[in-house]
Point group: C2
Chain length 500, copies 2
């Protein structure tokens, strides 16, 4: 990048603030961010706030006159920052641990400055073509055949909604034109997913007019994987009852336990009944990059659509959810509507990405993903993900040998679910164990040193720890484990006293 | 903001790049952006590319080893930048002219570094509360009553989809649970919008299972405004035919001409038939801040939901679309699904914004809007929008007195639609006029100095010029007008020769 020519002080670009004003403030913010990234371990991971705490400090109305950046950034430091839960903290182990990496942040800077809308090829050719090329890189990294074309959505919720809309369209029931309501010719329609599928699948079923009843939840086996024989039976039963199956959602890496549905078996069933297969691999999909994990994804290429989120475990700032589709023409058929004011001469020879989803406006999200993949290289990405999995396996070993704790699920990737079962109290009723573990989780998180979340597995309340931030070291994981144990000890002490 | 402590050179934050590496690169990028903003008039507005031009230069696969920022940023300059259509250029007059303003870019920097997910209050209290507070500021600026609560979506497409999903839910047909398909108890359902409504309204009708037939398009009057009497008649006719009306979408500022539907009349009809009224004011809504424009929005507060996009005309980088809802509990009812792993102790006392829309994951978009509103102040925003409208009115006067051009629509805001009608050729057939104006538009855009788009109004092809970038001056508008005229002259010359 060439250095810019020197600007005159206080020059103005009409009504925006002057470029040198930008430069001065951007340098301050860059210093602030560098400092933040350097010292992030000193912040409490979970914001120690009560609802309304921040709201009551902020002014009730917008200022009439402009305010200085200095004032705004002071408020950012003093009002906003204490209310931030630090997702970029190396000891953020809740939900799924993510990373706003250095190249990702730099990518967002450029993207915000260009401010292009990648709705049409013409509206920014490089934005569309870079999206296609980078997603083709990622496709190869994941070992998917080139029949899959990708595009970026904001979230997996939207990617799955789009995939399920395509499934509906593929059924050939003229739903695009005639809709679903008041049609005497339409039977009830159904999707199938495991009881462990993400809530966004059920939400999509609601949005698309299938309703909650239009999603059949298939039970899981002891390892929280969809039971394919039950799926087959459910489809058979529905067909007999006059319900039309439309598609199946297999999850490779569920949210609670990161369990992996048997996608090969499910794909066969989908083939047999001609159903759309959507694979939700939002979190775990990136691990297909690792040769030693590839077997878990065997036959996922028979899916019609797959979602993988680089903003989860590929070190890209949110939002960046990739939807791969083996039948993009169906996606297009489900969504394409081209009003006159968006027609272009290139519509035959170029791809207009707005045609493949809900949103017309599309940020230039490929830029940050391009910076991330190039900066780390495939090798850097593989090393980081492999290490996260290794940390999780080491922690798993420590939990397994501790008689006060019990693992509640297998650990195929880097997420663990476990609970505290005091060794002298093995006969505690389930409700009491839940109460104990809720208290333990609250106490752990109140230390401010780590943030963990929870789930419930077949009625058992479990503490959930997910590893996935680039800055996380084994020492961070070990510190979390020590805090978990020492907070458990404290509870045990109190419990013992109370019990007398 | 305090200066950070000095970092050791080449320190590393485990597997991410080091903070001082960030600082070094962020400073380079900041300089690049300042230079870009300073010299943006030197870039061709519309990228002079053919489909595939960029794709063929980029490598076919991702690098295995890490690459240096220097290499990546050189590629950005040499490969990506020439393929960018410059939406941040002051002579980008196509679609809707937007601004990635200085405070907006700075806000995105901070947001990317924090990388929080505002799905739950707990997952970042400040992100949720700042969103609520800033949208309350904006609500006051727009003159809406405090019964309206706001939240940010990525685009108006999604905001309108959510609003229409709430309309469906409000009808009380148990659609959330039972869906629409195969129900003998459900009549066909219908939304109503004008023929000039945005394509995203029709797309939402398709997604929600109403189908294209489930959206009744009401004709417009000579000024492209929905004809309320036809709306009333259509509703009456549908009810007689056994179709159940669900909601009406009024557009205040349509995409083609920025026409303003008679919202007061439409609101009365909605009240009479108990229909959900959604107002699409994605582009023009912000002009309600101007006292002299407020009358156009009179009675819009009777709407159930309103969408206004700060990323269109409020100088905020995309994406930032605000959905206001007078009945947020219905929106919640339509979308809320809380799996165990997302339950929090604060769900009674705090708002979890994930409950009010499609996407679970939510970027911290309020931050940039907060920076924009505070940096410009209400006064700065009013001055800028007022000036854009004034520029458009001045250009309108110039077009009106030029006998070679014809305005095709009123200009209530800052967008003009006009066409070239050679003065000696007033009897040219419509198809020939279309061909002439298509050619003219192509020639204008090929200069690289301006970018305009087009539309078709009641069969007439029109050139569309929208003003809305903060850097745009009257000289920019005048230059556009000169280019339009001189390119028209050239066509006329050719035409005269050919005609002989």
């Amino acid at each position: 990048m060439d250095a810019p020519p020197k600007s005159k002080p206080n020059s103005k670009t009409h009504r925006d603030l002057a470029p040198e004003n930008f430069l001065e403030q951007a340098e301050k913010i860059a210093e602030w961010i560098a400092n933040y990234l350097e010292n992030i371990r000193h912040y409490p991971v979970l914001a120690p706030m009560k609802p309304g705490d921040i709201k009551q400090i902020l002014p009730e109305s917008a200022p009439y006159n402009p305010e200085s950046f200095q004032q705004i950034l002071e408020d950012f430091d003093q009002i906003i920052l204490p209310g931030i839960t630090h997702w970029n903290h190396p000891r953020f182990f809740a939900y799924f641990s993510i990373t706003g990496s250095v190249p990702g942040i730099l990518g967002e800077m450029l993207s915000a400055a260009l401010n292009v809308n990648a709705m049409l090829w013409k509206s920014s050719p490089a934005a569309t073509e870079l999206e296609q090329v980078v997603l083709d890189w990622l496709r190869q990294m994941l070992g998917l055949p080139e029949t899959f074309a990708g595009l970026i959505n904001d979230t997996a919720s939207v990617s799955s909604l789009c995939a399920m809309a395509a499934a509906r369209e593929a059924a050939g029931l003229n739903i695009r034109e005639q809709g679903l309501a008041g049609r005497q010719d339409l039977p009830p329609l159904r999707f199938y997913a495991s009881t462990e599928a993400h809530s966004s699948i059920e939400k999509s079923a609601i949005v698309l007019g299938f309703g909650q009843n239009g999603l059949c939840k298939i039970p899981t086996d002891a390892a929280f994987r969809m039971d394919a024989s039950v799926l087959q039976q459910a489809i058979e039963d529905d067909i007999k009852r006059g319900i039309k199956p439309i598609g199946v959602i297999a999850t490779l890496g569920t949210t609670s336990t990161t369990s992996v549905d048997p996608v090969a078996e499910i794909a066969k069933i989908c083939q047999q009944y001609q159903l759309w297969l959507h694979v939700d691999a939002a979190y775990a999909g990136v691990t297909a990059i690792l040769p030693e994990k590839r077997a878990l994804f065997s036959d996922w290429e028979f899916a019609d659509s797959i979602v993988v989120n680089p903003h989860k475990w590929l070190f890209t700032p949110i939002d960046c959810s990739v939807l791969y589709c083996r039948r993009p023409e169906v996606l297009r058929q489900a969504f394409s509507l081209i009003p006159e004011y968006l027609k272009t001469a290139e519509s035959e020879s170029a791809t207009n990405l707005m045609d493949y989803g809900v949103s017309l406006g599309r940020r230039f999200r490929a830029l940050k993903l391009w910076l991330v993949i190039r900066s780390f290289g495939q090798s850097g990405i593989i090393d980081a993900i492999r290490e996260h999995i290794q940390f999780a396996q080491q922690l798993k070993s420590l939990i397994e040998v501790n008689s006060n704790f019990q693992l509640l699920a297998p650990v195929p990737f880097s997420t663990l679910v476990f609970r505290f079962i005091p060794r002298h109290k093995t006969v505690l009723p389930e409700a009491e164990l839940t109460r104990l573990n809720q208290q333990l989780l609250e106490n752990i998180n109140q230390t401010g040193k780590v943030f963990l979340s929870h789930t419930v597995l077949k009625g058992k309340y479990g503490i959930r720890l997910a590893i996935g931030n680039l800055k996380t070291t084994w020492d961070d994981v070990l510190l979390a484990w020590h805090i978990i144990q020492s907070e458990a000890e404290k509870i045990l002490m109190n419990y013992a006293f109370k019990g007398k």
